[in-house]
Symmetry: C2
Subunit: 492 residues, 2 copies
């Protein structure tokens, strides 16, 4: 266990500053990240968000913390356009697919898990679902009503934002001003039961079109989308926990509402550090159907898209994403990923080279500072691009040792190996994609050797040996094909 924790700094959206990270309990971290609404295939933007928090999770563990990481599955209550009325996203998809909503949930949850696994994103410690916490949600609605910050209207319950703002600060996370918010909203049809257009539903009366519905003190209905995260984060991490994360599109209103719900229900400030990941664009523009630049995860893998020159492995994409800081916009493009892929291969090749490096009695290279540089990069708000640039400096050193321009002792080499393995595989979560390739390579090399021996035999007029090689290969169903370019081989 390496205790680097005292120096970790995190950019906290709540304060707008990079702050030293001090956990509530020594050695323990509670982290909540808003997970997917499982009504469609996960997209590459989601991957970036969950990858970013995978790095946070991995680095905290690497730094010696025990982390309880909760990432939810939204399986009810998320209405179209994130609104307070209209169809449930999952219910709508269920109608389209002619399935029970929970079949839709299962289908896309499985797909989500497959994608997470393919990108080597660690599963969270707990992955709770909204439908798994209805009693707790109903109880929280009751608490908020009891405290005077919510009211029932027509079988729904709304959070009273103005009333809340009298006592607390609505807008403290997103920096929005309630006066501006009020003047920018207008009363919408179907929301007229709200006292104020800013109010948001924490429990919705289910009209006939809603299949997913439960009995409650206010009749049959379902929980408001914002509510589940407050309930599940505090149930598993306590009223106040360390880190709350999500995509930056969730900052307002979702996360702002979470803070309001926590305080409105009589709890405290939910999270000490709020982290938000930035957006992903494609060829410089927001991915949008009308622009035609929406690229699916499958297409990124296959290269089967007009904007892609080739397909990329999930590890190349992971590496590409880690070459930007999570808080920067990241622009996807075929060229940029291809460049990262080369870098990734270079790094992997250097790591393999480590095993065959010759050691000396003295080290001309200095790697004492390397570990500190790695830590400093990650301690600076999980700065993976800086970490990777340091990794490439080490690649240069490795290549110099291989070229015998530099020397390394056995013990320094061992130290270097451990350090690289720990940062490349554990912290950055990269995986070598070499293994099966090397098997293929060996076969290729052996065949090249046979072909070379046969040519030499022929050149020496040793036709007996040349024929023997051909016949022996034939017995393995391997055919040699001679041509002007040389000899090719084929196995039936």
């Amino acid at each position: 266990m390496k205790y680097a924790m005292s120096k970790l700094k995190i950019y906290n959206t709540l304060s707008g500053k990079k702050e030293e990270f001090v956990p509530i309990l020594k050695d323990h971290v509670g982290m909540y990240v808003c997970g997917p609404t499982v009504y469609s295939d996960v997209h590459i933007g989601n991957v970036r968000t969950f990858l970013s928090f995978d790095i946070v999770y991995r680095y905290l563990k690497h730094s010696g913390y025990t982390v309880r990481y909760v990432r939810n599955i939204t399986d009810v209550g998320h209405l179209l356009n994130d609104e307070d009325s209209g169809e449930d996203k999952i219910g709508k998809q269920a109608k389209l697919m002619n399935k029970e909503p929970m079949e839709v949930v299962q289908f896309y949850t499985n797909g989500f898990h497959d994608v997470m696994k393919a990108f080597n994103i660690t599963p969270p410690s707990i992955e709770p679902s909204a439908t798994g916490h209805l009693i707790e949600q109903i109880e929280m609605v009751q608490e908020i009503i009891k405290n005077g910050f919510a009211y029932e209207a027509g079988g729904s319950v709304y959070f009273d934002v103005e009333k809340y703002h009298e006592k607390f600060h609505y807008g403290k996370l997103s920096g929005r001003k309630i006066e501006d918010l009020i003047s920018n909203t207008r009363e919408l049809d179907g929301q007229s039961e709200k006292r104020n257009p800013l109010d948001f539903a924490i429990w919705k009366n289910a009209d006939e079109s809603h299949i997913m519905r439960w009995n409650s003190p206010w009749g049959e209905g379902f929980p408001g989308w914002h509510l589940e995260c407050t309930v599940m984060s505090t149930k598993y991490l306590g009223d106040t926990f360390d880190i709350h994360g999500g995509g930056m599109d969730l900052k307002f209103p979702h996360h702002e509402c979470e803070i309001a719900q926590s305080k409105g229900s009589g709890k405290t400030e939910p999270a000490n550090y709020w982290m938000h990941t930035n957006m992903l664009t494609m060829n410089g523009a927001k991915m949008s159907k009308s622009v035609g630049n929406v690229v699916s995860i499958e297409e990124l893998g296959s290269g089967d898209h007009l904007l892609l020159e080739k397909g990329f492995s999930q590890m190349a994409i992971r590496f590409f994403m880690l070459q930007s800081h999570y808080s920067s916009t990241l622009d996807l493009s075929s060229k940029a990923i291809a460049a990262s892929e080369k870098g990734f291969e270079k790094l992997m090749t250097a790591l393999e080279t480590l095993d065959s490096l010759k050691t000396s009695n003295t080290s001309s290279v200095e790697i004492n500072g390397v570990k500190q540089k790695f830590e400093d990069a990650m301690n600076d708000d999980f700065n993976t691009p800086i970490l990777i640039s340091h990794l490439f400096e080490v690649v240069k050193i490795i290549n110099s040792i291989q070229a015998e321009k530099e020397t390394i002792t056995e013990s320094v080499l061992l130290e270097l190996k451990n350090l690289l393995n720990s940062y490349v595989f554990d912290v950055l979560g990269l995986q070598s994609t070499k293994k099966t390739e090397s098997q293929d390579e060996l076969t290729e090399e052996l065949m090249t050797l046979f072909i070379k021996m046969r040519k030499e035999a022929k050149d020496n007029k040793n036709y007996e040996l040349a024929d023997e090689i051909r016949n022996k290969l034939t017995s393995l169903n391997i055919t040699l094909k001679d041509s002007k370019e040389g000899t090719a081989w084929e196995k039936e």
Copy 2:
């Protein structure tokens, strides 16, 4: 879509007979299978159960049905020894692991999914959890109380078996007689609040040691283990559905109680067909720690166990299991799986041979009856061992064609390919494991060839060639090691 459905017969535990399968809705099947309690690693016996129902699911789909397959996750309420009092299995494990119970649930659920995937067991359409259906469970308890078949005592609610038996038949599924059950039970400490020792808890008051607890009309508690299956099966499949399955250890009391709960809550008979898979033994005895014959799934894969001669691929184990009928006891042994592995490889080799078979203008082989035989086997209560014996008959035919003892036309060959692919890959869910193996094999074969050539060169006193081979291999980092037993090779 192939409509073989009219002829499918299923052994129904409820009637003790093989019956023609008639679904409630034409073309649609609803199936519920009791899933795992996620407090420990899934064991190989579980794999057999879920594999058996995977075959049912696959064959029903193959037969043209739309199947809604529900398999639950038990994440609360299952007490040690399946009793009505004592510790929750998950709660106990949580204390041992020093984790939040839902972390334990997540950890073992992930492990369960990984194992299912490794054995190519299809995920169900819906995988609901007990904690995800608390409101529904509380409501069902209320219904049962209202109907007079349950009573509250000390914050718990018990199902009144005698009262129920006055009107319905308790024991109809398991064939147990209530008089015998009563005379065989005795009042246990801590269960004294039951009116009758046969009564079972449908809601349990949570004592202080229980972490997993929810508010209910009877105070804080948690649902009884039997209840969740009744609630979730009927929620997603309707009051009466087609097939209910599980391991035969669940027949009594779990499934018997499910029937009682359904009827006691005012619903009808829950399932038309009850299917039970049989047990698995190891070297002739029930797996037990005291016997020392407990073999884990990991050990089966690695061969790292005193009772195993080698490790087996998941597909070899799948094939082995399918060579017995689900309703028979299955005895695992290293020898038996090794025999199945050979059969599996033979089958896979034959399937590969199909691509290189020469076709003729006439067919001497008759495969018209083959499809009917396949269907008949599977329609006879999913008789996979019979189906596999027919597959081996086809393997013989393929080998005869390859040996040019029989002929086949192109169109018959195509038909045969489609039929085999459909039964081997879709219905039996086998996967070819050849690709990487054949690569390894080729390397082995090439190396054997080099070693043979070197030996011949030495025998012929052609030391130049012998040395050349060794040196060339050294350039590939391959070391040859001569010994009395011959020459071995190793790559760095």
